[in-house]
């Protein structure tokens, strides 16, 4: 079913240095390939050379050190789902991982690929953004760290330069934080997000001390609902239902979805309101347990 007869070469990188050299010469990185194969087949990407990074050991594994969980870029969604550490310490990421694709896809697809493909409907971005996760990027000029949020520059565009790769995602554990992820798809299994919402809250002395709201599939990049966040800061949680309703309306106004095959813009906006409120209530319950 190849629509175009494309020709490209293939090389397997075994070290980060080797990989960066290949990338700086114009190679396109491939890890799980579950998105890339389709983009190539449909002619959206036409690589001259694929650089297989899937065997680079340094990019694998989930570790915890000094209160920070590090997720190697090659961590598969199945590994995220099966990780006790992820499930216990960052359940919001577990919620998004278990809803991504099917088990067959999750066995191959990686978190690094999900982020670097920079799809507007990327499921792992909203939870990582509300967790304040950092991306460790390595390249010819050494390594740098940026907020995961700042990786996304447009549809399939990232802040990484041609000779850089995502090394890992770092999530600092904040004990008091309650976070939740909700996704609306056309059905339960194997559905691309119509919209998705992740929220996080920190409550102190009965008031919202900090709050983050990230929306997926409602803009070219995962979107922070910053006005809604500002509105919530300092608000009394005894009045949660009312303030969350108002915040959800603000978040809805901040979103700018398009109409496509999955849903129209009006429906998406309305669902942003509904799901933001539900997610905030979930996050509050979790924050209360942890407070």
């Amino acid at each position: 079913m190849n629509k175009k007869s494309l020709v490209y070469s293939y090389v397997r990188a075994t070290t980060i240095e080797n990989c960066i050299l290949e990338l700086s010469q114009g190679g396109v990185p491939i890890a799980g390939g579950t998105d890339l194969m389709i983009l190539i087949r449909d002619g959206i990407i036409s690589p001259n050379k694929l650089v297989d990074i899937s065997k680079i050991k340094e990019l694998k594994g989930i570790h915890e050190e000094n209160g920070t969980i590090s997720l190697g870029a090659l961590t598969t969604f199945s590994e995220l789902v099966e990780s006790k550490l992820v499930r216990e310490k960052i359940p919001v990421l577990y919620e998004s991982a278990i809803n991504m694709g099917s088990p067959l896809i999750r066995n191959v697809a990686t978190i690094g690929g999900n982020i670097c493909n920079a799809s507007p409907a990327c499921d792992s971005a909203p939870p990582l953004i509300v967790l304040g996760a950092k991306a460790k990027i390595v390249g010819n000029n050494g390594e740098r760290r940026i907020d995961v949020e700042d990786i996304f520059k447009g549809v399939r565009k990232t802040a990484l330069s041609k000779d850089e790769i995502l090394h890992s995602i770092e999530v600092k554990i904040e004990g008091r934080l309650g976070a939740s992820f909700l996704k609306l798809g056309k059905r339960n299994a194997l559905a691309i997000s119509v919209i998705s919402v992740a929220t996080s809250l920190i409550v102190e002395n009965g008031a919202i001390k900090d709050c983050k709201i990230a929306l997926g599939a409602v803009a070219p990049v995962p979107l922070r609902a910053k006005k809604a966040e500002e509105f919530l800061k300092g608000k009394d949680v005894s009045n949660a239902d009312k303030v969350f309703s108002e915040a959800s309306k603000i978040a809805m106004e901040e979103s700018c979805p398009i109409t496509d095959v999955r849903a129209c813009d009006v429906y998406r906006k309305k669902m942003v309101e509904v799901y933001t409120k539900r997610s905030l209530l979930n996050s509050l319950n979790r924050a209360a347990v942890r407070a």
Binding site: V7, Y8, S9, M37, N48, S102, P103, L104
Partner: protein, 167 residues
Amino acid sequence: MNLDTVLAKKEEFEKKIRIIVNGREVEMIIPTTERLLDTLRNRLGLTSVKEGCSSGECGACTIILDGKAVCSCLLHTVQVDGSSIVTLEGLADNGKLHPLQEAFIKAGAVQCGYCTPGMILTAKALLDKNPKPTEEEIIEAISGNLCRCTGYVKIIEAIKIASGAAK
């Protein structure tokens, strides 16, 4: 890239790979763009591996790659160099059907049969890892394998039979 460039650098667009398929070591020279699905079907004659949606949504092309059920339509063959692959042809032992195959027959879990190879391999990968799955775990495991005939009830029943949870 034009044809002359491609021909001049032909060796760059082919790779020698070595994989283990159904317990047998195979060495082949494969174009770098070839999908694993096509290699298994067209070069090795393993036609139990079906092409359905070609985009990882239907599970008809499921194989077991190093112990995990995956879609062979979303992999380049060169990516799996050094790996071990099981297709449905590798399940029967000297003409004796695998317990999952027996269970699918016993439960009547096959209608048109197009999803069956992928379904059985997904079930095998599940049972190899989790010999006594709950019904929820079975449903979750096969959620990437679409069946348009059975309504799934008998497939779930068959997997339960193979796991010893039903008769």
